[in-house]
């Protein structure tokens, strides 16, 4: 059981993504977002999460995926890596699954649509393909300086 990891699964467009559950703080419904002028294009703005101000990024913009109107299923997943906490807008957050480490193949061996820098690997669960994100890289990369 040691090499079993838990992932939070969410959707962007038609694809399914997974992030390590240990990096997820909460999953919120979409809250009012305040725009931040002159921020990078993928930064949606900031939200008030119970008194804490949290920046929110639009993953679809970040990954150059086609934009789509947000549905009531849309969520903001609050993730935290070292000293950085942000929210990510996703089309829906569906489930939590367990994957053995062997089921995740390294990123360079598979070809997916988005920038492979941010991908930890691809997980296979029955006939589904789950793109496992590397949040460290993602958060460090988009950290605005």
């Amino acid at each position: 059981m040691d090499n079993l990891n838990q992932y939070v699964i969410f959707r962007l467009g038609d694809e399914e993504y997974g992030i390590n559950i240990l990096q997820v703080k909460t999953i919120e419904k979409v809250l009012p977002i305040t725009r931040i002028p002159r921020a990078p294009y993928y930064v949606k703005g900031v939200i008030n999460l119970r008194g804490e101000i949290i920046p929110v990024i639009d993953l679809k913009k970040k990954f150059d995926l086609p934009e789509r109107e947000l549905t009531p299923d849309a969520r903001i997943i609050i993730v935290s890596v070292s000293d950085v906490t942000i929210g990510m807008i996703v089309d829906s957050a569906t489930e939590v699954i367990q994957l053995p480490q062997e089921a995740v193949e390294p990123a360079n061996s598979v070809n997916v649509g988005i920038n492979s820098d941010f991908i930890e690997g691809v997980g296979k669960l029955e006939d589904r393909l789950l793109i496992i994100l590397n949040l460290e890289k993602l958060l460090l990369d988009v950290r605005v300086s």
């Binding site: 009012p32 305040t34 725009r35 931040i36 002028p37 002159r38 921020a39 930064v43 703005g45 900031v46 939200i47 008030n48 008194g51 804490e52 101000i53 949290i54 920046p55 000293d83 950085v84 906490t85 942000i86 958060l139 988009v142 950290r143 605005v144 300086s145």
Partner: protein, 683 residues
């Protein structure tokens, strides 16, 4: 090692090291100073380190403690070398603590050199001291012998009578030549001679013993006489085989006071009175001392609280303020319900009080920062061969803890500059007719909602020509522009990145960190820095900091439909200007207000918002200030003044331009706070 104890150890060690630094500097100034306290601090440090198992730290503090003990028991006299060794030792202790706080270990630091130094000081000084002490002791003995002999009541009475009759009492010390064979005969002759001048009251040893030659080479005579010392002396010296005659007048009044004889009250009213007075004085001193101790005790009654817990408390209070604001907004609907309105008013009052109370807890006297400087100034002036006197004022002024933590480095930088570039070398100062010792002054005081820190020196001031030359050389400004610049503008160049006037790069100032870093640090704390200088007379840096970082008064404005907060302390006024009043200067929009030309900025442009100018006839302008400069910001609407809680945007969105932070409004929405300083840079 338990990290909880470790952090306590680190914090307390730092405190003690700080205290040691201060006390040692005092010792440097006043070598006679009592070292008990220093010894105690060192002892405590040693104990703490021992408990924590830090061997080097314990060993070094132990040796330093021994040295202090030697000073305390007067085996060693204090000189600059001793103080230097002590200071160096304390420095190394500090280094060890730093290392420990980084890694939990003492590291590789080699302490054998300092231990050697301590040893050397203890040995070499030891000899000096004992020699010096001997001679010193002899001198003292000789002097003190005057009134050393006990006087009985009878003798005292006689002295008193003599005093009343205005006669003098002399103590005559006679030293007979060592080769003299008939000492008592010589003594007899001396007595004979002395008796011509007055009455012999007492001799030491007694007359009988002198006659029996039961004395070494010297004896004392107490004589009441109205003749002067010289006449008596000459007369005795004319006797042969007398080696030396010392005559001293005895201060009877003094003796009567010092010796607590049982004097009869009716006869000695005056003396008695003096006794009482003296006693009172002593009492008073006691009382003062006690009061001093009491205040010390009171100061010591503190509680160490983790700053995170305080921050948490502060956050909760902030939340409360947000809800309060929200309730106040609701108030309009409650107009008819007196009770509810009163309850809300009461809530507001309690909330503000609570806020004040929490803020006060976070307030720390700036002393915590200023304390470091006597040592720093001492080291720097020594290193640079300059004489500097540091004056600290207003150290009790309180500032938010966050500001205190951050302000140390900028201040250090300015102080370094002042000593390195500002204050001249002693010879040079004398040449200019100044005192050899330069004066560096650090002063803190409250000014409205701000705390002002002034750092001034009486050095050479900033050389504008030199600044311009350097700035042109480094390509910060071009030559033609330089000619047009006003003095204040020139001086502000020193805050530009990449500027340093130091002709030679010294160890102290030329570290590549310029005043631009100082400036940006202070601005990041919500403050600003100004500089005033007069060539040949000195320079003054004026740092203005907000009392608190967490909660401010702000004016809420609308740009399109978005709400933004502008800190109230940056606002000069709000005005409405018509389209016609907006003029163009150098292709920039300006408006003239009471004869002053004010550049205009459309916030819409800055904030990437849409702006339809053609449809407008009138513009709402918020005039913001920075020092003497003003800028007008065009906004769409004014919402009103409000108390806002400043929140950070987090680590992810660091250093966004034009945005200083965010706040949460009564309706739960986030509004951004404008960074007024950065707008001035844009302009």
């Amino acid at each position: 090692m338990d990290s909880k104890y470790l952090s306590v150890f680190i914090e307390e060690s730092n405190e003690y090291i700080q205290k040691l630094n201060n006390e040692l500097l005092e010792l440097e100034k006043n070598k006679e100073k009592n070292v008990d306290e220093i010894f105690r601090y060192m002892h405590t440090l040693k104990g703490m380190a021992g408990t924590m198992g830090f061997e080097k730290f314990t060993e070094l503090s132990h040796q330093l403690e021994d040295l202090l003990d030697a000073i305390r028991s007067e085996k060693i006299i204090v000189n600059s070398d001793v103080v230097d060794v002590l200071l160096e030792g304390v420095d190394i202790l500090q280094e060890l603590v730093e290392k420990i706080s980084e890694s939990g270990q003492e590291g590789e630091k080699d302490i054998s050199k300092i231990l050697e130094k301590i040893k050397r000081v203890m040995q070499s000084e030891n000899l000096m001291k004992s020699k010096e002490k001997d001679t010193e002791f002899k001198v003292r003995e000789e002097n003190e012998r005057i009134a050393e002999h006990p006087l009985n009541e009878y003798e005292l009475r006689i002295f008193e009578e003599a005093y009343k009759k205005n006669l003098n009492v002399y103590q005559i010390k006679v030293e007979i030549h060592q080769d003299c064979l008939l000492k008592s005969a010589r003594a007899f002759l001396v007595f004979k001679a002395v008796e011509n001048f007055g009455e012999v009251v007492k001799t030491v040893p007694e007359v009988k013993d002198i006659e029996d030659e039961k004395f070494d080479r010297e004896f004392f005579i107490y004589l009441i006489s109205n003749s002067n010392i010289d006449t008596i002396k000459k007369s005795i010296e004319s006797i042969s085989e007398i080696n030396k005659v010392t005559i001293k007048e005895i201060d009877i009044e003094n003796i009567l006071q010092i010796r607590q004889f049982d004097v009869k009250p009716q006869k000695n009213e005056e003396i008695n009175k003096k006794f009482v007075e003296a006693g009172n004085k002593e009492n008073k001193e006691n009382v003062e001392e006690k009061e001093l101790k009491d205040t010390k005790k009171k100061l010591g009654k503190t509680l160490r609280v983790d700053i995170d817990r305080l921050d948490n408390l502060m956050n909760l209070v902030s939340e409360l303020i947000i809800i309060k604001t929200r309730l106040e907004e609701l108030e309009g609907d409650l107009d008819r319900d007196q009770n509810k309105r009163e309850a809300i008013e009461y809530l507001s009052r309690v909330t503000s009080n609570l806020h004040d109370a929490v803020m006060k807890v976070r307030m720390v006297p700036i002393e915590n920062v200023f304390n470091r400087f006597p040592r720093i100034v001492y080291d720097l002036s020594k290193e640079l061969n300059k004489k500097v006197k540091l004056i600290i004022e207003g150290a009790e002024t309180e500032l938010d803890r966050t500001v205190i933590d951050e302000i140390g480095d900028p201040l250090l930088h300015i102080v370094r500059n002042a000593i390195d570039h500002g204050i001249e070398a002693p010879e040079e100062r004398v040449k200019y007719g100044k005192a050899e010792e330069g004066i560096l002054k650090m002063k803190a005081y409250h000014d409205g909602n701000n705390v002002v820190i002034e750092i001034s020196d009486d050095g050479s001031g900033i050389d504008c020509d030199k600044v311009v030359r350097k700035a042109v050389e480094k390509g910060i400004i071009d030559e033609s522009k330089a000619l047009r610049m006003k003095e204040t503008e020139i001086i502000s160049i020193i805050f530009e990145p990449g500027f340093s006037t130091s002709e030679k790069v010294t160890d102290i100032s030329g570290r590549g960190v310029g005043l631009d870093v100082v400036k940006s640090k202070i601005e990041s704390l919500g403050g600003n820095v100004e500089v005033y200088t007069k060539k040949g007379e000195g320079t003054k840096f004026l740092i203005r900091l907000p009392l608190t970082l967490a909660i401010i008064q702000a004016l809420m404005v609308k740009v399109n439909e978005e709400k933004y907060a502008i800190p109230l302390n940056a606002i000069r006024e709000t005005v409405i200007v018509s389209k016609e009043e907006i003029k163009k200067v150098y292709n920039k929009d300006v408006v003239v207000l009471r004869g002053k030309v004010i550049p205009l900025i459309r916030l819409h442009e800055i904030l990437d918002a849409e702006f339809d100018e053609k449809q407008r006839e009138k513009f709402i302008v918020v005039v913001v200030k920075k020092g003497e400069k003003d800028i007008g910001l065009i906004v769409d609407d004014l919402i009103g003044e409000q108390e806002i809680v400043i929140k950070s945007l987090g680590n992810y969105l660091k250093s966004l331009k034009f945005i200083a932070g965010a706040t949460i409004l009564g309706d739960g929405q986030v509004a951004l706070i404008l960074d007024i300083n950065s707008l001035f840079e844009e302009e």
